[in-house]
């Protein structure tokens, strides 16, 4: 365990950062679509002066709040835990609230589009229902047979570690909507649903692993995965998505978890 820390320490100069936070100019291009106005999508662009710690979400807010209130996108927590603001930023799926502008190439326009493979409703808002439908189909809940104990079920730290990575999912759809198979085949369960199946299949407390493996052995299940790793790159939570999918494939073949 930790030692009791010192009552007083010498701090290094400039500790905790310091100095002026620089500002810089960006061009933000947003893919616009509103079927109330037109069936055609188009690009709008704005030139903005932003600050060092600003994120893409701050730039979108700047546009919405100061220039054009009709620019539409979802967001809530603004620090990468609620999963509302997955979008394509310069061609990559990311959360707008976790993508710092200074980490992008600001010498070129920053392109923001809706995630792919789900029907666009308006601007950056897509219909999430097909995504949640796949999620619900893999039985995303603990199923345990027999009597439940008076106190908690026991689970060793090793057993808990086995599915830790896939408990981090925030259902933002960045992985599923980065998958080329999903783009062409909307019936495919997609990475996020498989990640959430993995979370239960490898939980020592769960008794429905076989049923979930059967569901994912379907022709629209794990075998559609072409191991392109797009999903792993896209995950804002750092989940090893492709690895999780491989483990599910392996479990189907061996029927062992």
């Amino acid at each position: 365990m930790e030692k009791e820390p010192a009552s007083k320490v010498e701090l290094a100069p400039g500790v905790g950062g310091g100095g002026e936070i620089p500002t810089f100019d960006i061009t933000l291009k947003v893919r616009r679509y509103n079927p109330e106005i037109s069936d055609e999508a188009h690009w709008d662009e704005w030139k903005l002066t932003m600050y060092g710690t600003d994120r893409v979400l701050d730039a979108l807010h700047r546009v919405k709040w100061e220039h054009d209130g009709s620019v539409s996108f979802r967001r809530s927590c603004a620090h990468g835990v609620c999963g509302s603001d997955a979008m394509r930023i310069n061609g990559r799926n990311r959360l707008a609230c976790k993508t710092l502008l200074k980490d992008l190439d600001t010498s070129k326009p920053i392109l923001v589009e809706p995630i792919k493979g789900l029907p666009v409703e308006k601007d950056l808002i897509v219909d999430m229902e097909p995504f949640f439908q796949s999620y619900r189909e893999i039985m995303p809940f603990l199923v345990s047979k027999g009597h439940s104990p008076t106190k908690e079920r026991l689970q060793s730290s090793e057993e808990r570690e086995r599915y830790d990575d896939t408990t981090k999912c925030i259902l933002c759809a960045a992985c599923t909507s980065s998958c080329p198979v999903f783009w062409t085949d909307g019936q495919y369960f997609g990475p996020a649903a498989i990640v959430n199946a993995h979370r239960f299949i490898f939980d020592s407390r769960d008794d429905a692993g076989d049923m979930r493996l059967e569901i994912l052995n379907d022709k629209e299940g794990v075998w559609r995965c072409r191991t392109t790793f797009n999903c792993t790159e896209a995950c804002p939570r750092g989940i090893q998505v492709t690895k999780a999918i491989s483990e599910v494939k392996q479990a189907i073949l061996t029927r062992k978890v």
């Binding site: 701090l11 539409s72 925030i170």
Partner: protein
């Protein structure tokens, strides 16, 4: 306009709403209305844990937990409610484990527990390991687990449905030959974001579980969507709001951004230092130091900065030091918050202290309820069929300052109670008839916002509101700052009548909804400020520099704020009081 009929309607799909839905959905025809998708709610941002006296790692019991909660709330806690919460905490944690929540485990495979601010062994003798947790993403795990169980039980969700009005009617009831009018709830009016259409939901029971109001402040850990809608609709329909002057500032928000860094960091051994490298909490709380309750730590930090010992180029923050902890320990117990420091400030917590400053975090006050989660129309009259739970409610288990982890506990204990009670009531009661023209007020509200061409911008008014609340109604308050805030809020309200909403469409018109949300924020800021003005003492999270002592003789009471246009001196908010419920603890001086 569509009309839907349910036994129970739950407003909000965070922890409290979904915990209620799991109970209600198995007993009665239930719908959940949420302005977001279910797993987007801010319960998911909670980090450190949920306290329960499981005694898995050291001696503990629920009576100690009750005492800590009462003392933490500076004796303004209703002690019957605190007892219920601490006692039922144990079952609440076990319920979640059985639903599948992946808690961290002890070497024996039991649910692991860790220290948290204000939670102590034997009435304050030393910190105790009471918080059950899943790394520093306990709220995320609770939100996911509850949603998973809603899916399991086929709970019906209406996603992106904003509830904008509560349909209240006065009904004649005769008791002992005497006839009088009683408030009854008939349903809610809801706005479907996708289509822009209004929907009526008629229900026998309504559970309000719509969360907090942190966006009245600029620097806040709260989500953009926490705009006090649930408190607002109740207040506008004559329901009082209790203890709204008490707002919690969490000590460790990332400096300048307000993003939360869990108290679990200090629970795991991190400490606060000022610009001189001094562990200043040793001076303010000699016994439990950095693990003192949040109001004390936040005030101490603000005081260090005021007295010139702030760090950084502008000397406007202090430092959270984890550098003496093992990196492997940090990775195992605090992975998310250390990533926040890296992502948003570019600071490496293994080797550098992290700039932090208090961030607006939690409303202790809210819609008054009793321990069955029934809403009160005054000090003791229940509104039959109307329930509230979670941050939107005031039971009151948090009094004037909530202890860390007790919010995740509150939503689970009182969410469950609300769900059970709402379903039980619905199974015996009849529908209340929907009043004539039920949507007329909501339509007026929306049309006014949509058609006004005054040119005032919603975002600018909101920013000015947040600026004045940060400057004048934060950790330190005086009559002068509060009066100034009230007058600024009044002028902002006037400008609010002249806003222009640019988006004129029906589909996904978030521009319009932001305007509506600003209306709730203005109402709630006014209530919070008026209540703060009324309380001429310092207690818990409310510190009046002009009245720096706790004054039990005059203010050992809850405040009850009513909407009352005739109360012109306090911007149309009338303040009354409500007695605190005592069971076993008499007020003592609060020292740590």
């Amino acid at each position: 306009m569509q009309v839907h009929k349910y036994d129970v309607v739950i407003v909000g799909a965070g922890g409290a709403g979904m915990r209620a839905a799991i109970e209600s959905g198995q007993r009665a025809h239930t719908a959940v209305l949420t302005k977001l998708y279910p797993t987007r709610s801010h319960t998911g941002a909670a980090q450190g844990g949920m306290c329960a006296a499981l005694a898995n790692v050291e001696e503990d019991n629920w009576e100690w937990h009750t005492f800590d909660t009462v003392k933490g709330g500076d004796y303004l806690v209703d002690q019957d409610a605190a007892e219920v919460m601490a006692k039922e905490a144990i079952e609440a944690v076990l319920d979640l484990e059985k639903m599948g929540l992946p808690f961290n485990r002890t070497p024996e495979g039991r649910i692991d527990q860790r220290r948290f601010g204000g939670h102590t062994r034997d009435h304050g003798k030393a910190p105790v390991r009471r918080s059950c947790y899943a790394a520093d993403r306990t709220g995320h795990m609770i939100l996911q687990t509850l949603y998973q169980n809603c899916v399991k039980h086929n709970v019906e969700f209406y996603n992106e449905y904003y509830v904008l009005d509560l349909l209240m009617v006065d009904q004649e009831v005769t008791v002992d030959g005497e006839t009088r009018l009683e408030k009854r709830v008939a349903g809610v009016v809801s706005y479907d974001l996708a289509s822009g259409e209004l929907h009526i939901f008629q229900a026998k029971s309504i559970v309000i579980a719509s969360g907090g109001v942190g966006k009245v402040y600029k620097t806040t850990s709260n989500a953009h969507t926490l705009t006090g809608d649930g408190m607002g609709i109740a207040f506008r329909r004559g329901i009082p709001l209790e203890d709204m002057e008490f707002f919690q500032f969490h000590p460790t928000g990332l400096a300048g951004l307000g993003i939360l860094l869990s108290e679990a960091a200090r629970g795991e051994g991190a400490i606060l230092r000022n610009s001189e490298g001094e562990r200043f909490m040793e001076r303010y709380a000699p016994t439990i130091k950095d693990l003192a309750p949040r109001d004390i730590v936040a005030r101490s930090m603000a005081n260090e900065v005021r007295e010139g010992r702030g760090a950084g180029p502008n000397k406007d923050y202090v430092l959270l030091d984890l550098t003496h902890l093992e990196p492997a320990h940090i990775d195992a117990k605090l992975p998310d918050i250390t990533e926040f420091a890296r992502t948003y400030l570019g600071v490496e917590p293994y080797t550098e202290p992290v700039p932090v400053f208090p961030t607006a975090h939690y409303a202790m006050g809210g819609i008054p309820t009793n321990i069955s989660a029934e809403v009160l129309a005054d000090n003791d009259t229940v509104v039959p069929g109307l329930y509230a739970a979670g941050e939107v409610a005031c039971v009151s288990v948090h009094g004037s300052n909530r202890l860390g982890t007790n919010s995740l506990l509150d939503i689970n204990v009182f969410g469950k109670r609300a769900g059970i009670a709402a379903a039980a009531y619905a199974l015996t009661a009849d529908f209340v008839e929907i009043p004539e023209n039920p949507t007329v007020e909501t339509e007026e509200l929306l049309n006014r916002a949509r058609s006004s061409e005054g040119g005032e911008r919603v975002a600018l008014i909101r920013k000015e509101l947040q600026d004045i609340m940060d400057a004048n109604v934060q950790v330190f308050r005086t009559e002068e700052t509060l009066l100034e805030a009230l007058s600024v809020i009044e002028s902002l309200e006037e400008r609010y009548t002249r806003i222009t909403v640019q988006d004129k469409g029906k589909r996904f018109n978030l521009d319009l909804l932001e305007a509506v949300e600003l209306g709730f924020l203005l109402d709630m800021a006014k209530v919070m400020t008026a209540a703060a003005l009324h309380r001429q003492e310092s207690r818990g999270g409310h510190f009046r520099e002009d009245f720096p002592e706790r004054d039990d003789e005059n203010f050992m009471t809850h405040s009850m704020a009513y909407r009352d246009p005739s109360a012109t001196r306090t911007s149309g908010v009338r303040l009354e009081t409500k007695p605190v419920i005592f069971t076993r603890y008499q007020p003592m001086e609060r020292k740590y």
